[in-house]
């Protein structure tokens, strides 16, 4: 928190037009956008890209769910179906979930939150976006040229020897995009270490910074292992080197170890930033400091560290030794504890707060509920004997979608709404936004809850045709998916609408704590006219609200005029 002079009102009324000079209107040419090194513009470029990929991945899922309404292969050929679920997984994981919050919200907010002018390496940041886009184009090419059907997990020897689809192109695309992840994480770590404003000690940092930092550690250390896994599969396909070929003494399970060594921590890359977003939203809409700040912060690091130790829980039925299974199962339970700590702390933060239910808060509360459910099913799958039954069934599909969609995507949408005014200088229509949040919540549960039941019943995943007795639950799930799809279209529409017709936002419509709110909406290119100096603790809502009350003594609590 910056020191605010006692003699000046802490806020100004919402202006009639956006601030004269801000990062958006600082040059309109295509060149000024495509050659920008401004972290905020790069964040917007990422926003466009990830939204694009989200729609393609969502389209693939829609066709899959539509086909699954009947037990037979009634909509597409099986080859196509296999390519569609692979496309859905590859695109959603590598081109949406992993970059979404770090590259959009992280890029935009990290310098602002720590009072810096930009990230440590702005040109590297732009390069990261180009690398991401190049990788994405490769993958689009692979899709258009006929697709890939290995599943996003590329298990050998199917991917390395048997599949005759575009494995190489897809692997190359993901390999390239991985560098974007690595460089972004590197940028964040250096920035957070070296460029915090004076007075901004570690324990005054917003929790979003803590979780971004933890995420960046995983991005930096884990992604290279994915790179080598895909590289070796590519070499086996291209040069027939047989590293995973049993006929040469190779071991297909080695691929699984290498792949999951990254891909398990990767799921924490996908969810940790969302947790950071929730940790920003809840205090703001409760008007109080989060309960257990230090514990929430440290739990992010604990998750990052433990996440590297549990990959073998994807290999319980693969034939890895029982003793390895024991170790990985035990460690998997350990990694659940820090997440539980967060959930309890978030819930406790509501206690004695002054709670309002604006859209970001709806998403945040939805996150807490759905992440809890998804995380609890993690206890099921970490139990060796239960996992034997549910591995590779729809139970697993439901488990990770509860966390990825019910968790990460809702956190992402909550963050987009929370910081929309900061990024664009406009307010979105609150009524439509709340309706959408509820629609998404309902649609999501209807889509994925039946899948738990389906999975325990024994319906395997990646199945095009299935026994008739599974149809009722599949139809329920697909019905839910249609609601979910509609729900996602609403924000796309009204957020775009708001760019032109939304109300102009003040610098801090939410009266939130944090340095990013101390500059205009949208911020100027250099972020701050002068580097702020931080004296107060984080989330000092008591002080903020006291100052607001001093200005408007008649209003009960704090009014938020919005939408």
């Amino acid at each position: 928190m910056t020191t605010i002079s006692q003699h000046r009102p802490p806020t100004v009324p919402a202006p009639d037009q956006p601030p004269r000079r801000n990062y958006l209107n600082n040059g309109y040419s295509v060149r000024s956008w495509l050659l920008t090194t401004d972290h905020k513009r790069i964040a917007v470029l990422y926003l466009l890209s990830v939204t694009f990929f989200f729609m393609i991945g969502g389209l693939a899922a829609s066709v899959v769910r539509l086909d699954l309404t009947t037990p037979e292969a009634d909509l597409v050929l099986t080859e196509t179906f296999n390519k569609l679920f692979t496309a859905h997984g590859v695109i959603m994981v590598f081109f949406f979930l992993i970059p979404s919050i770090p590259s959009v919200l992280g890029n935009f907010l990290v310098p602002l939150m720590i009072g810096a002018r930009d990230l440590a390496f702005p040109k590297l940041n732009l390069l990261s976006w180009y690398i991401y886009t190049l990788g994405g184009l490769f993958t689009i090419y692979a899709l258009v040229a006929g697709g890939v059907d290995t599943g996003w997990t590329f298990y050998a020897p199917y991917s390395s020897t048997y599949s005759n689809t575009h494995v190489m192109a897809t692997a190359v695309g993901i390999f390239i995009t991985g560098f974007s992840s690595i460089l972004t994480g590197l940028n964040f770590i250096v920035t957070i270490h070296k460029m915090r404003a004076p007075g901004l000690t570690w324990f005054r940092l917003p929790l979003f910074i803590w979780s971004t930092y933890a995420t960046s550690i995983i991005m930096v250390l884990g992604t290279p292992v994915l790179a080598i896994s895909l590289f070796l599969v590519g070499m086996e396909r291209l040069l027939k080197i047989g590293i995973f070929d049993p006929k040469l003494g190779g071991d297909p399970i080695l691929f699984q170890h290498l792949f999951w060594f990254y891909s398990h921590p990767a799921v924490y890359i996908m969810v940790l930033p969302s947790m950071g977003v929730v940790s920003e939203i809840i205090p703001c809409f409760c008007r109080k400091r989060p309960f257990g700040y230090a514990f929430i912060g440290f739990s992010s690091f604990a998750i990052a560290v433990f996440s590297f130790l549990v990959w073998g829980h994807h290999l319980f039925v693969s034939g890895q030794s029982v003793y390895a299974g024991l170790v990985f199962s035990a460690l998997s339970y350990l990694v659940a504890i820090p997440s539980a700590i967060k959930v309890f702390n978030w819930t406790a933060s509501l206690h004695k707060g002054s709670i309002s239910f604006d859209t970001p808060m709806l998403y945040a509360l939805g996150f807490v509920g759905l992440f809890t459910m998804g995380g609890l099913t993690g206890l099921f799958v970490a139990a060796l004997a239960v996992d034997v039954h549910v591995h590779d069934t729809y139970f697993i599909v439901a488990h990770f979608h509860y966390i990825m969609v019910g968790g990460a995507v809702m956190g992402y949408l909550g963050g987009i709404h929370f910081w929309w005014s900061k990024m664009t200088g406009r307010l979105y229509p609150e009524g439509w936004a709340r309706l959408s949040a509820i629609l998404i919540f309902v649609g999501f549960n209807l889509t994925f809850f039946p899948q738990y039941i389906l999975g325990y019943l024994g319906m395997p995943r990646r199945y095009h045709v299935y026994p008739e007795e599974f149809q009722v639950l599949n139809v329920m799930s697909s019905a839910g998916a249609s609601i979910l799809a509609v729900g996602y279209f609403f924000p796309l529409t009204y957020l775009l609408w708001s760019l032109r017709w939304g109300k102009i936002a003040s610098s801090n419509p939410w009266r939130a704590a944090g340095l990013e709110w101390q500059t205009s909406s949208p911020p100027p290119t250099e972020n701050f006219a002068q580097t702020p100096v931080v004296r107060d603790e984080a989330y000092d809502y008591a002080t903020i609200d006291a100052q607001l009350a001093a200005v408007k003594p008649s209003s009960p609590g704090v009014e938020l005029s919005h939408g």
């Binding site: 199917y158 409760c286 339970y333 819930t347 709670i355 590779d392 039941i453």
Partner: protein, 325 residues
Amino acid sequence: MIDDGFRLFPEQASTHAPRVDLLYFFLLGVAVFFTVLIAALIVYFSIKYRRGNTQVDRTVSHVESFRTELVWMVVPLILCVMIFTWGADLYFSGYRPPAGALEIRVVAKQWMWKFQHPDGKREINTLHVPLGGAVKLTMISEDVIHSMFVPAFRIKRDVLPGNYANCWFEATRTGEFHLFCAEYCGTNHSRMTGRVIVLEPAEYQAWLAGGNANEPPAEAGKRLFEELRCVTCHVAGGATGRCPPLENLYDHPVRLVDGQTVKADDGYLRESIVRPAAKVVAGFQPIMPSFDGQVSEEQLIDLIAYIKSLAKPAAAPASEAGDRP
């Protein structure tokens, strides 16, 4: 059972199933408890502390207590240790098949399951087994990784190329149960399904005896042994001195040139045929040619069955079968 119509919960058809389900229901209880707890707290706090409610006391009297944090760290941890132990214990008990289990050989390939009963009878995509008594599946893939999954038995095991994988079950109900491939294996992965048909023991014997008489695997193996000229070196009793005798070899320890001792199980025998130089027996040269690519997995199963059937030589002249395995 297949064709039973819509269900919400799978039936239990093995000795293992109820035990897994018990753990599952416990986990369900834990999950429901915590979900309801968190949801209820969120709803309760949201209503009680909503912005417009000015009657409620919001003075924060508590100091953020390390003790609270400790409680909600330790309690879940204890719960997790419990669940882990239970799951691990159950996993162990389901892992190793009991002795004397009925041994079925399974070969998976894109996109079918091939089963072979001990007497040689073969089936494709359907597996007849007797009720009661352990059944052990020894499985291998001819191509990519598959996975044998029978939901009603709560068993699953990935079937790998190049290495045998085992799982076992003991059926407790007669009927027909789904068998699925549970590891994505290419285009017709979702059609690589089948049925396990559990019959009363007497019916199973009748089924086994009926139909075409199949060549017992050991006899088929013996025929192959001669066709492939194994007998050139592997003369009965090891009389050529060029190679270790195969009598009484199965399941016994073998000493290798590098000093290791391994057990001559199915995997060892299979490897010795396709990659003989990998484990050379102490006292012998690595001169055995590899049969990799010349024998199919099913032929390997037959050869192994033959080797298993070779009894200890009645009067082996100078060879002490004990220390020259």
